[in-house]
Amino acid sequence: MRMAVLPDGGSLLYGRGMRILLVEDTRDVGEAIRRRLETTGHVIDWETDGQAAADILDFTDYDLVILDVMLPGLDGFGILKRIRASRKTMPVLILTARSEVEDRVGALDLGADDYLVKPFDFRELEARVRVLLRRRGGDATNVIACGDLILDRQSRSVRVGNREIQLKRREITILEILASRPGRMFSKADLMDQLYGFDETVNSNAIELYVSRLRKKIEGARVRIITHRGIGYQMVPDDTA
């Protein structure tokens, strides 16, 4: 598990090498999910029977459970109920092929953290898994406010005034770093360390790209990201600038 220390002492987990339980009885689908998640460095236990999966969950903790709804033995909702009844907080992602949307709503009511409707895009599945794993790791519950820009670190959501903006993972991370210390200068290298860890080599142009996207997305906010050529980046609220 790799960890980066944030300027304010919070931590970011990069969600690699996590233990994931996959309960899926369709061979093709299970295989594809396992292969995709394994390439990102996670450890996958794959069960095809609902009852067997529930029994395993009784004495094993996982970082994430991916549950199909239609299962032999015990169905996904049954397993989910059992997990929540035993007061385990591990995140659960539900995969459903059921036609009624009530199912999805029901899944959330039962305590699922997210759901995907079959057929889904496997890249989207990977992205959701990443979010769920990070949410579990990130203990930061505080809200960062800078000008009229509000960043909720729990829900990873960003608001400018009334407007909620959808940001990508790395854009949020950069915003989080800049907004946590308004006015402080962060060099490109600082940001790169936070984004990729210390031992990864990344093209430093990527930072410029992220910052330019970020700037476009928070346009209209009463804060600005100022570029100091050759030095780094700085977030400044308009009223103090």
């Binding site: 093709d28 036609s99 949307v101 909620e164 903006i165 959808q166 854009e171």
Partner: protein
């Protein structure tokens, strides 16, 4: 080919007219008959009077029968000035005493001994009315029966008959016209419920297969019952069909998921550059197919819910926010600025959470799949007293001339345009079920294209 049936109205009108004409003909015949006998009676009295006067004027002088025809007898007959008079007096020997000797020479006068005899005859080519009266003579030298025959042409009688008949005809015609008019009015009035029923059916929304409620007269009730029964069966069939579509779409999902799993497992390093292009296309098409399958399901679902779920007090901001999070994948193109904005923290509407979310999700995905280049904005607010969800994208938009087509129910645009049509169809169904509509804001050089979902706000004083 359906044979053209005459209208109920013309059927009834034709029959009533036939009966009325027949009745009128009968009455006119009767009027003519009575007119003629009345004329005959009147003029027969005069004729008889004249004949009796002539008979009275017979006297025996010097043992010979003589007649001095009284002027008054002719004056009496002069009341019919246009008619000519022929007479013949016959003595006891049966010889013509005076007058036209060839008048009714063939008849048997003796029948007139009891009472005067009237008959219709023809004299010199003209129809005449003839009377024969008798007189007994009992003078010793000349005893026996003498006869007087008086004939009169019939011009005055015909004239009187015609006059009486003519007046009667006028009355009959007037009555018939009144009866016909009354019939037409009555028929129109009694056919009114049929017209009302027809209008009710033709004004109906094709989606509405609930029974017709109409206060129909007793005679129409079986007909109304059949229509309602038919609609009920049609409705069941539609429901079955929708369930079938939903089931079929649902069953397609599992192999479809497996298919995309297989595509995902293709090791792209082992595929040739040309093959890679194919893989990417297969992936795109599979995603398209997935989206369409999902839309088919939600279409069937929102229609089903529209007829079964009651609208409740729900927060449109919350629903729209959930829809926004569902519709925007995490893997969305990072160059698109995606935002959500609510003018107020809560916005209460009368709605069905699931349907509304489905509608908004589809509108957002539509914008994302077919519109957005670098901008997608969702905004919830109040416009002109109604709740509005506005989805704006910086894509090419939909030209105004296509708007009416897009918002038609069960309307999908061209197949080449992908699943836009189905998505709109879902939104339109939901908007309609909520008493609202789908609208658009035109793309202008300085303004992006927007789709607007507008529904009524929650009214606190609802019952």
């Amino acid at each position: 080919m359906i044979r053209h049936e005459t209208s109920l109205f013309s059927r009834l009108a034709l029959r009533v007219t036939l009966i009325l004409s027949f009745g009128a003909a009968l009455m006119i015949s009767a009027a003519w008959y009575y007119g003629r006998s009345a004329a005959n009676q009147t003029f027969d009295h005069l004729l008889l009077g004249a004949a009796l006067q002539m008979a009275g004027s017979l006297s025996i002088e010097d043992g010979k029968l003589t007649a001095s025809l009284p002027q008054s007898a002719f004056e009496m007959l002069g009341l019919a000035p246009e008619d000519r008079i022929f007479y013949r007096l016959i003595d006891t020997e049966g010889q013509t005493l005076t007058g036209y000797g060839d008048l009714a020479g063939y008849i048997d006068y003796t029948a007139a001994r009891q009472k005067p005899v009237f008959l219709n005859d023809e004299y010199r080519g003209t129809p005449v009315r003839l009377v024969v009266v008798s007189r007994v003579l009992s003078d010793p030298p000349l005893s026996g029966w003498a006869y007087v025959l008086v004939a009169q042409t019939t011009a005055a009688r015909s004239e009187l008959t015609q006059e009486i008949t003519g007046r009667a005809m006028l009355l009959v015609a007037l009555m018939s016209a009144l009866a016909l008019a009354a019939t037409i009015l009555a028929v129109r009035y009694s056919l009114q419920p049929i017209t009302a029923l027809g209008e009710m059916i033709s004004r109906r929304d094709p989606q509405d297969l609930t029974p017709l409620t109409l206060n129909a007269p007793k005679e129409l009730r079986p007909f109304l019952g059949s229509i309602n029964h038919f609609m009920e069966r049609l409705d069941q069939r539609v429901v079955l069909l929708q369930r079938f579509i939903a089931d079929a779409a649902h069953q397609i999902r599992t192999p479809l998921t497996a298919l995309s799993a297989q595509i995902d497992m293709l090791d792209e390093r082992e595929v040739s550059p040309a093959g890679l292009q194919s893989v990417e296309r297969i992936r795109t098409r599979t995603n398209e197919l997935s989206r369409l399958t999902g839309q088919l399901l939600s279409h069937a679902m929102v229609i089903h819910r529209a007829s079964t779920v009651n609208l409740e007090k729900v927060d449109l901001v919350l629903i729209a926010r959930q829809a926004y999070r569902t519709a925007i994948p995490i893997t969305v193109n990072p160059d698109i600025v995606v935002s959500f904005e609510a003018d107020q923290p809560q916005l209460w509407v009368a709605g069905d959470v699931v349907s509304l979310r489905e509608a908004i999700v589809n509108l957002i995905s539509n914008a994302l799949c077919h519109g957005s280049v670098a901008l997608l904005a969702v905004r919830v607010g109040v416009a002109e007293g109604r709740a509005q969800v506005e989805i704006t994208d910086d894509g090419p938009g939909i030209p105004p001339e296509k708007w009416p087509l897009v918002v038609k129910r069960f309307m999908t645009t061209k197949a080449s345009e992908g699943s836009t049509g189905l998505g709109f169809s879902i939104a339109v169904e939901v908007a309609t079920a909520h008493g609202g509509e789908i609208g658009f804001r035109e793309k202008l050089p300085d303004r992006c294209f927007s789709v607007l979902l507008t529904i009524p706000l929650w009214q606190e004083e609802r019952d």
